[in-house]
Every structure is written in structure tokens, then in C-alpha cells.
Symmetry: C2
Subunit: 227 residues, 2 copies
Amino acid sequence: MTSESRKAIILLSGGLDSMVSAAIAAEQGYRLIALTVDYNQRHKIELQSAQKIAEKLGVDEHIILPLDLSRFGGSALTADIDVPKTGVADDIPVTYVPARNLIFLSLTLGLAEARDARDIFIGVNALDYSGYPDCRPEFIEGFERLADLATKAGDQGSGFTIQTPLQHMTKADIAREAIRLGLDPAWSWSCYDPAPGDLPCGLCDSCRLRQKGFEEAGIVDPTRYVT
Amino acid sequence: MTSESRKAIILLSGGLDSMVSAAIAAEQGYRLIALTVDYNQRHKIELQSAQKIAEKLGVDEHIILPLDLSRFGGSALTADIDVPKTGVADDIPVTYVPARNLIFLSLTLGLAEARDARDIFIGVNALDYSGYPDCRPEFIEGFERLADLATKAGDQGSGFTIQTPLQHMTKADIAREAIRLGLDPAWSWSCYDPAPGDLPCGLCDSCRLRQKGFEEAGIVDPTRYVT
């Protein structure tokens, strides 16, 4: 099997990072199967971006899977808790969604096994981020090991690889990578707490990190902010 | 905090094993929060059993969470593939659902963190079973380690325990345990492929293992079978 015909599952939130990660998979010659989880997030609008990105990248299949994590709550993204707007802090913020990346990667693994794909792309990075534990390399490495114990394919010696092409990039690197890959940053959505009229708030961690990245890279992000 | 006030999340499919596992948690003094996943399984009828068991055990909260794994397929339980009826084989059978226990445990972990519970009960056992990789002790141990890397609570030193009270029991042991705990086996549902009239088929692996267990234990299972 040549690399051109290999399939990859891409976890596509609709944010800048997942867009760039998916485009890197496409550049490497993978055929793409995209998974987006509609977890009843406050910023559901990112699902529209995921759809647009999937179309632009010409994926083979795009599954938007409803999974209502607001039934669990425990996060500013899934419960009635205010999204912090005062800047990126040192602690893990309340926008952390309990076990989210583990849940999403597990789903991605199930889809990979069902579609006979062995590569999974996720756009995590642990430099310009909010300190979420499930974005760190040691979590990803642990998941990769567990994937082989958790599955029939892994048990039969045909294991899975979790690809994290953005792991060691700054947000400025990611912004530059988007331009290099011919992506329009405006296709993607980062804001956690959209203002009326569907404009990014410009103040949440996710808006701040995005703005900082484009500024440092000296690239104009066509995204319009409310503030 | 006394053990009486501790909360446990119990993964409750509605089958015999998850019923007994949950009742053991109750016996140990935990307050129970039950999670049942409606994954569009062929034997959706088990959801009714889960509801009955949750009521009988007096759980604090019972979440039945829709998650349509038939969008992925790849299993006789979620796609148009026949359920084997000729007896338990050596290979991992087509009733294996890709990454199911990893997906379910990940969800349970998210719920545990959101509800500030640290114990998770799952009714896996690896003696009288269908050889599913995600029922084995090494998978559970791997998950427990990863849970601490995947979560804010784990990162802050307050880790999770995956309790598998049935891990080393035979099906006969589990049948005896059900009776000892005052459970009516008929509350639970095991069959993968219910016949018309909502009767268990009596021929799938799950029916066979259940029948064998009660027979070996010398206990009458009031469940009526179609064959």
C-alpha cells in the first residue's frame, strides 16, 4: 500500500489548529476521514467552520457526531459558567472540559478501526495553549500505547499512530503554516464565547492566543472581532 | 470523607455483569451515579434493563447518553452484520465494537471528574467472555494510568480508580453473586440479537455464556429464551 492510498482520521473541531493539522495530513498524501464532535459546546458555531474546512480539503467522509457533554457539565464550555476574559492564566482554566481529548481520541480510534485506518491526526500543541493536561505529549504518548491494548487491530499487531504535527509549534508557527498550506484563516473559528451577530469576542483565551499568533507571525488574520 | 459519602460512577449497560458490579459498589457504601450509553446497539432493549436496575439500586442520578456508534459501524452490534450463533469461538468475534470500552470508560471518566467522583465501576471480566481485548486487566490498568494524565484532577494529584470487582470471576461466580446481593437476574438483559416479541435468542455468545453460568452455579435464571 503506498502512502498515497493510506487513510487518516482527522479530528476536526473547526479551529485553526485542527484545520492546519488536517491540511498537513492531506499534504502528506493521506485520504482524509474527518470526525467532528457536536458536544453541545457554547461555541457551536465552530461546527460550521469544520464543515467548510472539510469541504475545502475535499475529505472522503465527514462525520459530525452529536454527543451532549452538557449532560455532564463541569466546564465553562458546556455549563452555565462564565468564560474568563482577563487573559491566559497559569492554572488550568474553567474552559477545560473533563476528559474531552480522551473522549474525542477514543471516538477517533473507534472510527479508525472501523474504517481500517491506522493514522489519527490531532491538532494539539503545548506551547501557546491554556495548559490543558490532555494537550501534552505525555498524554498523547500514553493514549497511543493504550490504543493497541484497547482494540482488536492492536491486539492483532496492527497498531495505531497518533500524529500531532503541531505539538511543538508556537501559534505564530501555526499561522505561518496555514498560509504556506494555502488555507484561509477565516475558514476556521477559535472563539469560545461568540458575541451576538456571530463575532469572536476577542477576549477569551482562545481569541487571545490566536491574535497573538498572527501578530507575532506578521500575518493579517481576516477574522473580525467584536472588540 | 467517610466511605459512606463517596460517590462512584457505574457503567451500566443493563447486562448481568454491570448489574452485579453496580450492586457491589452499593454494598461498599458508595452513592451511585449511573451512566448508560445508547449507542444505537442492536439490542437497544438493554436500555430498559439499565433503567430498571438503576431504579432498583436507588442511584442518585442516571444518565442515558445517546452516542450513535452505528455511524462508525464495523460491528455486528452496530451494523448490518449477522450475530454469530454457533458458539463461543477462540477469535475475537464480529460482535466486537471498535474501541467501545475505551470510549465508554472515557465518558465515565469525564462524568466522574465533573461530579467530583474518583471511583469508576465497570463489570468487565476476562474468564467467561468473548475474548474482547478491552475486557482484559492490562487494558484496564493502562486506562487507569492514562486517566491521571488526561484530566485536571489527575494532574492535580487526585487520581481515579477503576474498580473491576468481577475481573476474576467466572459467569457462575457472577450468577451466585447476583443472588447473594438480592438481585433478580431477570432485571438484566444479555442477548445481542433479540427475537421478535423481545425474547433472548439463546444462541448468541452472550446468551450462551449467561446460560452456562447459571447452569454451573445451579441457579435458576427466570429469563425465558426463544429456543
